[in-house]
Each structure stands twice: as C-alpha cells, then as structure tokens.
C-alpha cells in the first residue's frame, strides 16, 4: 500500500513537470527573438535558436530539460545567464530555514493548544484560544507582520528587516528572522490547532472512550492514550498542508521583511520574464507540496494499525 502511494507520488511529480513545461511552452513570443531584440536578422535568430536547442521538437527538449533537472541542473537564467542552480541554492536554503523555524514553533504549539482545548473543551480557556487563533488567521499576513513590527521592532527587540547572508552565525540568523517566523506561526497555528481539537473531540463519543472511562482512566490518559492515536491521520494531513504553505506561500511575508527567499526570487523573475527561473521555482514548490503530502499519507497509514498489521 505504501509502495503504491510512493509510486503515485512519482507519477504526480512527472505530471506536474509536464504541466509546468507545457505552460511555459504555451507562452506567446519567441525567447530567442526576445533576447536578441527586433534588430536581429533571421539568420542570427535561427543560429541562436540552435544554440539554445530551440530548433528541437518540444518532447525532446522536455526530456533533455527533465534529464538535466534530475541531475540538479536547471539551466541558465535568461536575465543574466547565470546557472539557475546557483541562483536558487541559497534562496531555497533561506526559504527552508524560515519554514522550518516557523514549523518548529507552530507545530508543537498548535498540538499542545489543541490537545488542551480538547481536554478543557467549552471552558474559558478553550474559548480564549479559539478566539485568539481565529483572530490571528483572519488578518492578512502583511497586517500581522506590520503589527508585529510595530510592537516588537519599534521597541528595538527584533530587527524589522530580515536580511540574512550565508556566512551569518546561527544565533544571529535566528534573531534576525524571528519576526517573519512569528508572523508565519500566527498564520498557520489556528488551522492545526482547531483540527487537533476537532479530531480528538470527534472521537470522544466512541464506545472505546467510554470503556476507557469505565476502566478508571484519567481525563489526560483518555485524551493522550485513547483519543490522540486515533486522531493522528487528519492532524498529520493538516500539518503537512500547513508545512507546504510555509514553503510555498510565504511571498508576502518575504516581501514585508525583505527576506531573500525563493518566493521573492520567483516574483522578481516573473516581472523580469525570466521564464527558466520561474519554471525551476515552480517545480521546486510543486515538489515540496507533493513530497509533504506524500509523507503525510505514509505517516497516517503507519499510524493506523488496521492498515499496517493485516488480519
């Protein structure tokens, strides 16, 4: 079953690469003409097309591109001719760093808040947590970001501009990127927390929960030992969706904090019509989505003994 899911994941990635390549292919205009300008003679354009390999049929170019990508070579930027791999490497690293930073705060926080909300359901605490997380998810990201800048940067505790460089010390990095990470945390926590709470509460009417109560289990044991293991599948899936969002959906936050991430690079490249870079970034984002969802499916399968241990 897991092997099947892995296979499906590969197929999805393949289809996505086809879609991205096809979408770029459909864009109007000739890239060689665009680069060389209106003054170029047809001969020069043809020669340049040969050099770029554009005279080949689309399917051959697709497989050449795919083959290169699989070896880690995304080709060269059209804007400045530098290899895309170099361009992306640091940016991707930065994006992953920020996503991981936010996830390390948000996931445990959301799970804890959700479990506590299930344990003390309908209490004052439950309502307060719900109101707070829902409020923070309801505001646009840039608004949350500016509020945080106002509160935490005006006081001089954290910098409002998260300009990082590869040679920066880890602690310095953590300090500089705290505000974007906190903004992202506020944005994703509500979703995960509410799913945790709902998935657990949904199970509390089950006969096996009543049985646990009648065995004298404490409320904490009932939530942690009896409800949570059975609620893992939906929780894992929501966590995966939010992690994917942390990688792919952070453009606004990157812009607000001037953070050199992959999202910003993609936006810049779109405005510069740097098609090859857009293509590469899109593929990386798609991979992140597919891989995280794949991981979620595999993990939720593993969390269900009925699927792991056959009869």
């Amino acid at each position: 079953m897991i092997a099947l899911r892995l296979g499906l994941g590969l197929v999805t990635l393949f289809v996505i690469s086809l879609l991205i390549f096809g979408a770029v292919e459909l864009l109007p205009g000739d890239i060689a003409q665009e680069i060389l300008g209106q003054a170029a003679t047809p001969e020069t354009v043809a020669a340049f097309r040969r050099e770029l390999g554009l005279d080949q049929p689309a399917y051959i170019r697709y497989f050449v591109w795919l083959g290169d990508v699989l070896q880690g070579d995304f080709g060269n930027s059209l804007a400045n001719g530098r290899p895309i791999t170099d361009l992306i490497a640091t940016r991707l690293g930065n994006t992953l760093f920020l996503a991981l930073y936010a996830a390390v705060i948000a996931v445990p926080l959301a799970l804890t808040l959700g479990i506590l909300a299930a344990l003390f359901r309908n209490s004052l605490y439950d309502r307060a947590v719900n109101i707070f997380t829902l409020t923070s998810i309801s505001f646009p990201e840039f608004f949350v970001a500016y509020i945080l800048i106002f509160l935490l940067s005006q006081t001089g505790w954290f910098p409002s501009i998260a300009n990082v460089s590869p040679e920066m010390a880890f602690s310095e990095r953590i300090h500089r990127t705290f505000l974007p990470a906190l903004t992202l945390t506020l944005v994703v926590t509500a979703h995960m927390m509410r799913m945790t709470r709902a998935a657990i509460i949904n199970l509390l009417a089950s006969p096996y929960i009543e049985m646990a109560k009648l065995k004298g289990a404490s409320p904490t044991a009932i939530i942690l030992r009896h409800a949570l293991p059975n609620a893992l599948a939906p929780i894992i899936n929501v966590i995966a969706l939010n992690l994917a969002y942390l990688i792919t959906g952070v453009v606004v936050v990157e812009v607000v904090f001037v953070y050199p991430g992959l999202g910003q690079l993609m936006v810049d490249s779109v405005s510069k019509r740097d098609i090859t870079v857009v293509q590469a970034a899109a593929l990386i984002f798609a991979c992140a989505y597919v891989l995280l969802n794949l991981a979620a499916d595999v993990l939720s399968t593993l969390s269900n003994p009925r699927l792991v241990h056959s009869r």
């Binding site: 006969p207 009543e210 109560k213 004298g216 289990a217 009869r311």
Partner: protein, 545 residues
C-alpha cells in the same frame, strides 16, 4: 445463595436524560440489592433503562444524563457523594464493565495486552510483567486460542467472539468485586454465544465475582443469573429468583415477554414443478478481490414464498444478496429473474429490472437519510421508478404509509430521528414497497429490534406478502425468526449451502450436523439448558474449542 455480605445497594434511583431542552426521567425509582458472588439479571426492552442502571452502579452516567435522586452504595461507599477521583479509583479496579460490542469498545490503536494492562497499572495493582503474566492466565481460562500470543494482536486481528472473551478477561484484570455485563453476547452468533456464555459463567464462579447481567434475551439470562429483575420504561416490574421467575411470573408484562415468540406463519406448500421461480441462483461463485466467498450456491425463491437464509456471520448470506442485487458480480454462475438471466452488474440492468428487486436493511437508523423527511424518503423511489409527481406522488406516498400502518398525516413530514426503531424499519419497508417490486431481500431486518416490535414487523411483512404476492429472501441468524416466517430454509456455512428444504423438514431430525449445531445452540428458557448442552457436547466430544 446462602447468607452473604451486602455488596451493592441502590435505593430509589432516579436518572434523567436531557431531551428537547428539558430533563426527562429515564429511571424512575429503582431499588437493587446485590450480595457478593451473586449474579443479577436485568431484563427489559430497549428504553427500559437497563444500561443506565448498570452504569449508575459504577457511579457513571453518559453525557446528557444525570442522577437526580436516590442512593448508590457500593461496599459502604456512597457513590453519589464520593469525589470523581474516588469513583475513578473504583472503576476498573473494584467495579468493571463488559460492553455490548467488544469490537467497538477495544481501542483500535492499541494491542489487547496494552489495554489489558492499563487498569492494573494505573490503579497500581500490579507491575507490567505481573499483569502480562496474569493476562495470559486469564486468556487461557477464557479458553482463547493461543493465550500466550493473542494479547499481542490488535483488536481488528481477532474475531468478535474472541474479543468478547478478551474483554471479559480485561474486566477481571484487577479481580473486581462486581462486573457489569451489558449485553455481552447480543452481537454474537448463537454458536459463538455459547462459548462466551460458558466462559463468562465459569470465571465469575471461580473468582466469586458479583455481576449485573444486562440483556433483552430471556433464555440467556436464565442461564446466567441467580435472580432476575424485569424493567419496563425505567420502572421495576418485578424481581424474583430465576427459577421462580421463569416458572411463575406474576405480572402481565413479564408473562407477555415470556410468551413473545408466538407468531408463526402457516407454511406455504412448495411451488409446483411448472412454476418459474421469481429469483433463481444457479451455481454462483463469488469473491471479494482474490478471497473467494461463495462456492457453487444455488437456490430458488418463488412468488408468495419466504426463503430464510441462515448461517453464522461470514457464512456468505449477505454476499448472496449482493450478488442478486448486482452489487457484487459473481465470478461464475448466473442469477435468473422469472427464468431470464440478469446482467451480473447492477449498472448493466434496466430500470425495470432494478425496480423488481428491493432491499430492506438491518440498521434502519443508518439506512435512512437523516436529513430527508419521510415524504422524500418514500416519495423518491415512487417518482424514480413509477414516474409519479405532484398530487399522484403525494397520494401514493400516503397510501404506502397506510400500508405500513403509520398514520400519513402524523408521519409524512417527520424526520427519521423523530421515529422509534420499529417505525424506522416500517419506513424501510415502505421504501422497498414503493418501487412495486416482486422480490424483497430482508437483511436481518428484525435483529436490531425488541422482540415485541420485531413481531409486529414480521406480521406486517407477512400481510404484505399475501397482499402483493411478494417473494422474500430473509437473511437471518436467528432461528426463532426462521420458525416464525419461513417456508423454506437454506443453511449456509463458509460460503456453501449445506442444507436446504422446507421449514417443517428442517426443524425435524435428522439434520445435517451443522444445522444440528445451529439448532442446539439456540438458548432455551430452561436454567439448566447450558449445563445440559455443555455436558452433552463434552460427552460427544463436539464442544467447540
């Protein structure tokens, strides 16, 4: 039954449940006294408050219920006044609970042994190693196969009857003084039920445990209890020791319970040789994926006849129904309708072919769309199959409600949640009739209902059959139902038909050995029945392991 010390004393217990924003009484002043080592049977129909009283004996109420009056004293501890922590300390340790459906009451995420060890560990009764060792010993006493390793399986890897025994073992883990058995064998086949009953009785005797045994099955309670208390709608009807109660019930209600299995339909003669059966299965083989389920199954069902298909769970009864309806295309063989072969899958069948065969389900609760009014539930097949609309549709819907003996004005705009179990099942019948079929499959239609209600449903089905010349296929594991309604019987085991014939022949010896096992496993209203049967089987060497 000699002088024993008092263990549980419930006095004038009142319990209320929240319904429609008000508190409605569920239990109305019940007294219950139980001594050490004594087994009390609580019996009554659903809604009698049996389970509620059983749970109250643990100081527990379900969400939406509250104890509003009376006292519950367990071994000198007032359970109503005790703190929640104190009550929690008793539950699982001194008072244990065995639920109706072990399959639903074991946590699917943990192994049996982990669930077994939970109570002994959390109550600090023994260490993990001691508890595991003890579990194996109790599994052995409950006659579970492979007692050393069965605990290391997950609930879904163990059969229903075994789970029920594992749950009894789990309840015994801390050697409680009192166990509440809440319909522990209701969900089991008759043959499995015997094993579980025998195991429960042995272990309760061995450890001198007191028990409250809740059931709606009189014959079962006769085997298990020292005393029986009869309940009706939250009130006590009467209480007496088992033999007295069975021999000379005082109250009319008790007598009516005792006499309940009285409906018996006159057996129709066999159809003539020239008559084409309405439905005919010819050498059907079927499989779920690669697992074969049916092997060479053949039987006929004629108009105005009821064919009861009996067998244990997993014998292929319901699979045969799925083959007939086209939900599961057979791997070989064919289904004839009026002598014409039907396409194997329902997608390939014409609307008229689909209309001719309808189904009534076991769980009327889940078979009716909870968001639709009765008007839509019954009206939909009328509109779909017969193309009626507007006034004609309304009239036909009302006519159908009259047929199932429900007042149209009163019921047509209700939701399923506003009906009782028996009424829901009647709606299920009306929905099947709405298509004006010639053949109806009744899949365990009475097994979720109380005996008196079930009887009403059987009578209704009987009347409709003679009115509309219907052919019934009646899937059931309950031989009393077979006796009440069938003309012919098909006995299935492990996907094969082991015996078929007229009902009158079926209930007369000689039987096929498997039919004999089924017949002899039906509990009888005689308190010595289980002992006698076990002795007979032990002597014959046929006692199931």
């Amino acid at each position: 039954m000699s002088e024993q010390s008092l263990l549980l004393e419930i006095k004038d217990l009142h319990i209320e449940g929240r319904a429609d924003e008000t508190w409605q009484p569920i239990v109305k002043g019940v007294d219950l006294t139980l001594h050490r080592g004594e087994v009390m049977g609580l019996i009554g129909e659903s809604g009698a408050g049996k389970s509620t009283i059983g749970l109250a004996a643990m100081g527990f109420t379900r969400d939406g219920c509250r104890i509003s009056g009376g006292s519950i004293e367990f071994d000198g501890i007032n359970l109503r006044k005790a703190s929640e922590a104190k009550r929690r300390g008793l539950r699982g340790k001194r008072i244990a609970y065995v639920a109706q459906s072990a399959a639903a009451s074991f946590n699917p995420a943990h192994k049996l042994i982990d669930q077994y060890c939970e109570a002994p560990l959390s109550h600090h009764v023994m260490s993990r190693e001691e508890a595991e060792k003890d579990a194996v010993e109790l599994y052995r006493r409950m006659r579970l196969p492979n007692p050393e390793e069965i605990g290391f399986r997950y609930p879904h890897q163990v059969s229903g009857g075994q789970l029920q025994r594992a749950m009894t073992a789990m309840a015994m883990a801390c050697r409680p003084d009192l166990i509440i058995f809440d319909e522990p064998t209701t969900a089991l086949d008759v043959t499995t039920q015997i094993e579980v009953l025998a195991a429960i009785r042995d272990i309760v005797e061995q450890f001198h445990t007191a028990a409250i045994y809740i059931t709606h099955d009189l014959a079962v309670v006769a085997q298990m209890a020292d005393r029986i208390k009869v309940l009706l709608k939250g009130d006590e009807v009467e209480e007496a020791d088992t033999r007295t109660m069975l021999a000379t019930p005082k109250e009319d209600y008790t007598k009516s319970l005792w006499a309940v299995r009285s409906h018996e339909r006159k057996e129709q003669p066999l159809a003539g040789p020239g008559e084409t059966p309405v439905v005919s299965l010819r050498n059907i083989d079927a499989a779920y994926g690669k697992a074969p389920v049916l092997f060479d199954v053949s039987f006929d069902i004629h108009a105005r006849r009821t064919v009861a298909v009996v067998g244990e769970s997993g014998s292929g009864k319901s699979t045969a129904a799925r083959v007939i309806t086209g939900l599961l295309p057979p791997s070989s063989g064919e289904v004839l309708f009026d002598g014409q072969a039907l396409p194997t899958g329902y997608q390939a069948r014409s609307k008229d072919q689909l209309r001719q065969a309808q189904m009534i389900y076991q769980m009327a609760d889940t078979a009716l769309n909870p968001m639709q009014k009765i008007r839509e539930i019954i009206g939909r097949p009328v509109a779909f199959y017969l193309g009626l609309s507007g006034k004609a549709l309304e009239e036909r819907t009302r006519e159908l409600l009259n047929l199932i003996e429900l007042e149209p004005d009163d019921f047509i705009d209700r939701l399923p949640s506003e009906l009782s179990g028996g009424q829901k099942q009647r709606i299920g019948i009306a929905r099947a009739l709405a298509a004006e079929p010639r053949f109806i499959i009744c899949d365990e239609v009475t097994s979720a209902l109380d005996q008196l209600v079930a009887e009403g449903i059987l009578k209704l089905l009987d009347r409709l059959q003679s009115e509309f010349d219907l052919a019934y296929m009646f899937i059931t594991h309950d031989l009393a139902t077979v006796r009440a309604i069938a003309d012919e019987v098909v006995v299935m085991k492990e996907g094969k038909v082991v015996e078929q014939g007229r009902k009158s022949e079926m209930f007369q010896p000689p039987h096929h050995p498997y039919t004999e096992l089924l017949l002899s496993s039906v509990p009888e209203m005689d308190p010595d029945w289980l002992d006698r049967l076990l002795a007979e089987r032990a002597a014959a060497g046929t006692e199931p392991a």
